[in-house]
């Protein structure tokens, strides 16, 4: 460098330097709002969620059952072929026990969250979602789970129409 460099530029500030106005700064709070059109595949996906069903698309090129559904296959780069339902049971592929909320604030009761691959879709095709009905010590990769749906009148056409995935019971296997 590093050997030949005598001055490393940069003046460090502490959080209080900004918050308490010890250094000159300006402030701005953007007020940006968005409405996203859900598009072809996701509109049907969300409508089906409201009916308590999980829908996928099939591709005749690679013979995969694509979940979440899409109108084109990224592998074959051609239109997908048909709608098909997958089951609301699946396997935990991975998970985290989060003590952080979306803004990195600390929370006391951890969120169990992870990826669940759905039965009936191609291997390892899944969805990120919450897990419940299990403790942080019970959750593990490979655990079989089933969706807990919100009551029909509370569904809004959102991934939140599923409250969480709970352990699959012996009788349901």
């Amino acid at each position: 460098m590093t050997e030949r460099v005598e001055r490393w530029p940069g003046v460090e500030l502490s959080a209080s330097d900004l918050v308490e106005g010890k250094v000159t700064s300006t402030r701005f709070r953007p007020n940006a709002k968005y409405a996203w059109s859900a598009g072809e595949a996701m509109s049907r996906f969300l409508a089906e969620l409201q009916e308590g069903r999980l829908v996928a698309r099939t591709c005749d090129g690679c013979e995969r059952i694509l979940f979440p559904p899409r109108m084109f296959c990224e592998l074959c780069f051609r239109p997908t072929d048909a709608w098909t339902y997958v089951r609301d049971t699946g396997t935990i592929e991975t998970f985290s026990i989060s003590y952080l909320d979306k803004d990195a604030r600390r929370i006391a009761e951890p969120i169990l969250v992870g990826v669940v691959s759905l039965d009936g879709a191609s291997p390892r095709m899944g969805l990120m979602h919450y897990f419940g009905g299990m403790t942080k010590d019970e959750i593990r990769i490979g655990m079989r789970v089933k969706a807990v749906w919100r009551p029909p009148e509370e569904r809004r056409g959102s991934v939140l129409d599923i409250s969480y995935f709970r352990p699959l019971r012996e009788a349901e296997r």
Partner: protein, 387 residues
């Protein structure tokens, strides 16, 4: 393609908050890189800049906003962006300007100022998620890395303490870095294992900090290097980049296939057939300790699931057979996303020209590889450099 070398590098301090504006940070890093190369802005044909999403700084057209600090005005100037991969990718963009014969000298400047985003830049990371599938769940970015780390650990039966060794090594390596934000000569594996759980298995000391900073490199053709009698140069002998699908819940996160594809491309360009024998040291992207291991496997420098063994055996220490992150990495020096250029490509340059001072690898090193990673765990880019 023409032969291309790095002839100078510069960087600012990496800190949680810096007083300087993005423009001022760019200027400082760019000026240092030019001074090191013995060149002035008049010698520069083209300028490339790199920076992460505008939302961190709250200034759209960030590339235009700080271009004066990059020395870009009235020149062919481009800002490139490949998420966290920008830290290495901007050098690849500079390389193709020179390799193609379009330019003789290119200045590459990367900058990041994450502290402007209040109270924490995490809130802006929320905007990278799919608005329909992911955002209703109110995700935190740490979640996906925790999920990837968990799958990596579970599939290969890797113990947490073997991952913590990476944090210890890099934070100790960073002690020799004059710009380091989190160097720690006394840190132990126990410190990492006992640190606050953020999103299990990610704990506080498994993760690199948000940082402010800038870094720059000067890239020149072989002709220009000869004509200007530039002494310190390290050749860019291979470049590669690749991206995987954004449908991350459809991918097995256990192996970074996109890094492997980028590495194979770079090794092919560099005519490297046996990377483990031919590469002397590595600067893989280490925003989390497990990522260094994951990326060593993606770079084909370790068998799948075996990078923790190399770490445990001391192979990746600065005086080991394959020094990894001798700079101190993102874990020790800091993580101003795109500006990590200074500890990836910059470190390769300083090591290969024998200027790394306290951090100099004690044995002779001729070939190094730098790698960066970004977007939704999907982007990999690789640069191979030779003395």
């Amino acid at each position: 393609m023409r032969k291309v070398g790095v002839v100078g590098a510069g960087m600012t301090l990496f800190r949680r908050r810096l007083q300087e504006t993005p423009k001022e940070l760019c200027y400082e890093a760019a000026k240092m890189a030019l001074d090191q190369a013995g060149l002035t802005l008049a010698d520069v044909d083209m300028v490339v800049s790199g920076s992460a999403p505008d939302a961190f700084e709250g200034i759209h057209m960030k590339g235009e906003y700080f271009l004066d600090g990059c020395g870009g005005y009235r020149k062919p100037y481009t800002r490139v962006f490949t998420g966290g991969g920008t830290g290495v990718f901007s050098t690849i963009a500079g390389w193709w300007h020179v390799a193609s014969g379009l330019a003789d000298v290119v200045l590459v400047v990367n900058e990041e100022k994450m502290s402007s985003c209040q109270p924490h830049p995490q809130s802006v990371f929320a905007h990278i998620w799919d608005p329909i599938l992911d955002r209703p769940l109110q995700p935190n970015l740490v979640w996906i890395f925790a999920m990837e780390m968990n799958r990596y650990m579970t599939v290969y039966g890797i113990r947490k303490e073997d991952i913590a060794r990476v944090a210890v090594k890099n934070k100790r390596n960073a002690v020799g870095h004059p710009c380091a934000q989190l160097p720690d000569p006394h840190i132990t594996i126990e410190d990492v294992l006992n640190s606050e759980v953020m999103a299990w298995p990610v704990q506080r000391l498994d993760i690199s900090p948000p940082s402010d900073g800038a870094a720059a490199v000067v890239i020149a053709s072989e002709d220009a290097i000869r004509k200007r009698k530039i002494r310190d140069r390290a050749w860019i002998s291979g470049v590669g980049w690749s991206i995987d699908s954004t449908m991350w819940t459809d991918r097995d996160l256990v192996f970074p296939e996109y890094v492997a594809r980028a590495a194979k491309m770079a090794y092919k360009v560099a005519k490297i057939s046996d990377p483990r024998r031919e590469i002397d040291f590595a600067e893989p992207y280490d925003p989390f300790d497990y990522k260094e291991l994951h990326h060593l496997e993606g770079l084909l420098l370790a068998d799948k699931g075996q990078a923790p063994v190399l770490t445990r055996e001391g192979v990746t220490e600065r005086d080991g057979d394959l020094p990894v992150c001798p700079s101190g990495g993102l874990m020790g020096v800091g993580n101003p996303i795109a500006a990590t250029l200074g500890i990836k490509v910059g470190e390769l340059f300083w090591q290969l020209t024998g200027q790394a001072g306290e951090r100099q690898i004690p044995h002779d090193v001729r070939t190094g590889v730098a790698q960066a990673w970004g977007d939704l765990m999907q982007y990999g880019c690789v640069v191979v450099m030779r003395a």
